[in-house]
Amino acid sequence: MPAGPSGTSHRRPCEGDGPVPPVWRRPVSAPLSLSSVPKCGARGSQRGLPGTLRVSRGRRPCARPRRARDLASPGTDRQTRSRPRQSPCPPQPPESARPDCMTEGLPAPSAGLAGISGLTMDPECSQLLPALCAVLADPRQPVADDTCLEKLLDWFKTVTEAGSSLLLLQENPCLVELLCHMLKPQDLSSRVLSFSLRLTGVLAAQEDCFQYLQQGELLPKLFGEAGPLGGAAWTSPAVRSGWIQGLRSLAQHPSALHFLAHCGAVDTIFSLQEDSSLFVASAAGQLLVHILGLSMQGPAGAPPSLQAGDWPACAQKIVGHIEESLRATATPQITQALNVLTTTFGHCHDPWTQVLWVQLSPLVAGLLEKDPIPAAHSLVDLLLSVARSPGLSSSSCGLWETLAQTLSHLSPTQAGPLALGILKLQDCPQALRAQAFAVLLQPLACVLKAMAQDPGPSGVPDGTVGDSMTAGTPLPSKAACVGLLCRSLAHLELLLPLPQRPCPWPQALLLGAAVTLLQLCGGSARPACDMGRHLCTLLLGCVRVQRAALDFLGALSDGTGKAEGPASPARLLRWGRRPLRVLSGAGLGLGWPVRSVPCFPWIDALLCWGGPWRGRLGASSMSVSGPRELVTQVFAVLLEYLRSPDSSPTVLKKAFQATFRWLLSSPKTPGCWDLDPHALLFLRDLLPVLQKRLCSPCWEVRDSSLEFLTQMTRHWGGQAGFRHALLASEVPKLTEQLLRDPESYVRASAVTAMGQLSSQGLCVPPAGPEHQGGQQKSLLVELLHILSTDSEGFPRRAVMQVFTQWLRDSHADVAGDTEQFVAGVLQVASQDLDWEVRAQGLELALVFLEQTLGQPRSHCPHAVTPPVEAPVGPLAQALQPLCRVRLFDFAFRALFDCDRPVAQKSCDLLLFLRAKTASSSGLQESQSSPNVASVEAALQRWQAGDQAQPLGDLEPEVVLAVLRSLDLEGLRGALAESSDHVEKSPQSLLQDMLATVGVLGENEADCY
């Protein structure tokens, strides 16, 4: 990998980079005066941004991860750079390419308006536009990249939103010529045709421009039978899509409605709903919705009639079409109608939508009578859209009844999303919520029932519980069963944190179900009946269900939370300790009067019955053992998964996460934040498992084990019980060994874990024979070694984070000689190939700076705030340590870093420092000393890319002088812009498009 000596091989300036940015606030000396850099044209100030920070190239290209900006249209970037800086005068389109009927039938543009044309379009772009239009109209010059056309259209939208479209057309007659050219029978590319249709729509969105185009009959020709609609080009989906989107843009005013009615577009849109291209079909539906909304707006703000019979003809036609589709037998037609309605109710909340729903709801309800129910997913979407619509009074239009009916008719798989949607609604009747919740719980209840020791709860009618999975035993296929369970778990998990979550929340039932599912998947469940055995066969080793159940189990550790129900293990245990009388009649000891909710008849029965927990969790044993046993079961199943050699790495990771969440929520000993005795017992079982996992041949397992260890140490590292258990195990020693793991991710996690262990004083000095004789290395040395030698970025980044944290926490290894530590780390970090390491180095520098200057860190490091307390000593004295650790050398170098985030961070740091020192007096800046000049000269060379020369020892006075001479605010502003802002200008876009087809021929050689 090419790396310059001492990391100074920053990028060289190269042609096309743009001018050097005006970094300096004032010219301190002649060579530094960069303000005379010529600017380019009117937008020169924009173009004069730091090209040096635009794209990292030249230096160590492989060392950095790709970032989004590096991925942005490389072709465009290359072409842009190969252009000369001055805008070329665009060639006029060749005569042969000019359409001969360009402006036929259109009124002549008004010359009087030309004076304000500058408001609508940049003159440079206006200059380029005719050439571009000529290119687009020329079938011999195909546009290779249709993203350019999209960008162009976006730009036109911006321009027309800012000003008059009519003026734009008048100012740029080439646009009209382009549109007219589309009408000629020729072999035009479908992309260009589509673009033109969409452009026409964008322009005609303004009524005056619409009228203007109408006068020339351009619109009927483009969108009517005479245009692409009747031609061969119509076979291209792009053209059909362009036609629809053009009309979608165009339909903004009553005139457009007349036009649509006149040219029979609505019928075409109806037919396009069934288009073979899904995009076209979807867009056609959206357009119908839009036209319906537009036609119902009525003339000049008059509210539409609430009698459907009085609605405008266009609206009636669309509604009639929807009705007809809803009555159809073909599912695709019904789906289209439902989708149109869903969009309508989702976007429009006017009173007329209620009339529409009242009119159509019988038809929608009629769909439920069919078997199977057609387009069930779309139906669910529609009903939820209607229910969420604030324009509808749900109670008066029978929506709740329809929803209840739908819930009972749909299959469990289809009903799940509807049930979730209903439960998320704010003002839904309790009975419907209960029904919806029952649907979500059904699959889990079925699992519990299948695992029951006896045939079933006496109070649970067979037709209710478990219908979802037992219907027509044997059970459905494995795929269906797994899908249903995963969805059910996911829905319930989504519901868990919501305030409108059902109350009562059957925490124990859900815990029992999650544990049972995990036991089924792991093979440890012992079903007593055939159904359970069959379920066991279906779910055994199913990773999908394992993952979903572990996620859900983890989420359940937060429990029902706040006020209403028992939630966390702590709560469950507290409930367990309640006197029996409190729990009597409370089902599984959930602590709420289940029987008082009449809407849960079967859940009520199930809760009383207790599923597989019956007997163990029965009321008689509730006082202590019930909930405790449930929590014990949770930990047992988690331990089973952590132990099992068959747990896949992803399952294991989720098991670790769930374990951590449950440990977090385990009850605390009063007055102490340590783990409770039961959790400590669990920990004693867990640590041997963790030990083994740290030795796993699978790196993912080692990695997630280390992450888990880090989390645990972070939370309980200070607690005696945890410390004792951890130190008695081999875990710290194994973690230390993983610093040398062959897998970089594992090394990085080991670094973080060791950092955490060390912070908590949990690092054990190596006791192996190889470490005897006082030769052991301290962790600090080991980490520094990793930082300077590791070939991968992740461990080095992790080391920097650990060091920063150590510095922040005044870790013992660091506090001894902080300056030496910081100096060493910054020296290594400055030479690192990874920009994130360098950025983290700046973070460390900032911490050191704050500590040195004695200021508490503010959230906004560069905010100019008056110092709350004065520095400990004189400023020079305060700055001395910074100079000694060569912090400025590092920061200045980073200021010109080819990676923008590093430069930004450095800029922020220096601004912060300047703000700190601004109010301090007593330090004379040596503005004209030779030292300052040499430093500035060196910095100028650095900026130019030559970072070979070090700055040498800096004095605080010199630093301050240099600091004030830098235009850091300007640089920060420049850096805040994205690196490709120059390329994103419309002018650049037009140039790129022209360059692609070779009209701008002068740079042809550069393209190769």
């Binding site: 050699p645 030990q691 041949p697 790196w699 397992v701």
Partner: protein
Amino acid sequence: MKLYCLSGHPTLPCNVLKFKSTTIMLDCGLDMTSTLNFLPLPLVQSPRLSNLPGWSLKDGNAFLDKELKECSGHVFVDSVPEFCLPETELIDLSTVDVILISNYHCMMALPYITEHTGFSGTVYATEPTVQIGRLLMEELVNFIERVPKAQSASLWKNKDIQRLLPSPLKDAVEVSTWRRCYTMQEVNSALSKIQLVGYSQKIELFGAVQVTPLSSGYALGSSNWIIQSHYEKVSYVSGSSLLTTHPQPMDQASLKNSDVLILTGLTQIPTANPDGMVGEFCSNLALTVRNGGNVLVPCYPSGVIYDLLECLYQYIDSAGLSNIPFYFISPVANSSLEFSQIFAEWLCHNKQTKVYLPEPPFPHAELIQTNKLKHYPSLHGDFSSDFRQPCVVFTGHPSLRFGDVVHFMELWGKSSLNTVIFTEPDFSYLEALAPYQPLAMKCIYCPIDTRLNFIQVSKLLKEVQPLHVVCPEQYIQPPPAQSHRMDLMIDCQPPAMSYRRAEVLALPFKRRYEKIEIMPEVSPAETAVCFQLADALVPMEIKPGISLATVSAVLHTKDNKHILQPPPRPAQPTGGKKRKRATEDIPDCKVLKPLLSGSIPVEQFVQTLEKHGFSDIKVEDTAKGHIVLLQEAETLIQIEEDSTHIICDNDEMLRVRLRDLVLKFLQKF
């Protein structure tokens, strides 16, 4: 067709198939779990073992204390270990024509069969099976012979006494048939009867059946067998694997369309996933060694050890174990490691291609080169001088009853730093450890069994779709310890037939067809005759797709082959020797009656009868057809689907008349 089941062990099968006059033995596995009832054979004198107290009956009777010793509540036989042989009484083993061997684990009883039963047939096996099988036998003989034990206990085998013993001795089966290990001489003699075969090679057995070995993917040279005649196909699946380990992948396609599929040798630990177990093995190994402990891996000298060494080759560097020595101690260690590298054609594709690079197929060659893996024939000699700890030792025998492993158990058992990791699934690790109790060293059970599990079997059966499946009884119900696991059994339609030790199974299999050739080999002089015979065949379509032809020929049956020869020429009027010879050679053929086909429409038949003057005709319907009663003539015509009978009293004229009327309705050819 019958199947004689001589072994009760599902993974060490020994069955005899009688099929088309051949007697084929399928495998001859040796059940060595019987050795778990015996005390270990220590290489060096073990004071602990030799001082174990003798066992006495509850009433204090100590007459067995010389034969039985007590250790931590278990009773062991203090004698040379003995093995449980396959059943020898169920069938006369001298009548066995051939023995087909599936893999080297399933041939360990071979010397007992070939040397002591009057067996005079041939044994078929692949080359790696024979070579590695020889190594296993050699190791076994070596382990037992090098620790001579004078004492041979037999008193306890007395049925009346055995009843008084504690479990598991009390429940041991067929103890009277248990035998001591064979000798090397017997091994050599047995192996000399083996004929080597290659995959897909077709071997004719007496012209009656053809047997073909197919790759089974389990071990080097392991095979499944196809036993087929022209119209029947029996597949014998024993010890197969679908995992991508070192052997050639399993050939499933050739098993299709079997009439019977005999399924043995499935995984013994269906709940343990081999991948997970290898992970456990590595983790526990690293954990022990990092703590300064030693790892003992009781194993066979071939098989999974190759895969374990390969895994360790990849793992040891990542786990920082490069400096830890790995020792492989076995009398046949060297041969095993070297053999594995030369059987390139029997390896999986990846390993085969390495040979052409050229590179050794297994990476243990590199481990040996870099001195990370060292192998020794025994504890004595070089090993003692090279030995350093902590280390990892691979050695046999997995039963922990003989071999170098006994010494290491005695040596390392007292320290909790050390770990014994069981990877071979053949023996219960708890029973194996019983005579070493109390034991301080850690015990890890990571059974690695790559043979088919029940999910794979289910897929396999769906794929190959045999008409009938035959398997050991253990496979048709979940394991006793996991009775709820309905997935741990064979589930197929029709349900599998099961067998147990000493059971004879009549396979649901009817032979309906034989292949008959028309003069396959014809001398030039006889060509014309042959053509005559073939020309005489004039097929006539009876119904769409089915044609019939009559042929008149002489059927010759010899060596289970059936040949049609042209009929003799009509007898010449010339007398003398020539005619006599012709008569001797080929019997005279009478003029053949035509064959009839078709059915008789009763109504039309009755009309015809009336037309021919019969009156007073009565028709009765019967279960099989009709009876036409000519009351006046006192004659009965019984018309059934495949026969017509004319019953009349001695009126031959009438019968012939009626016959001719019946024949009018039938086709003749």
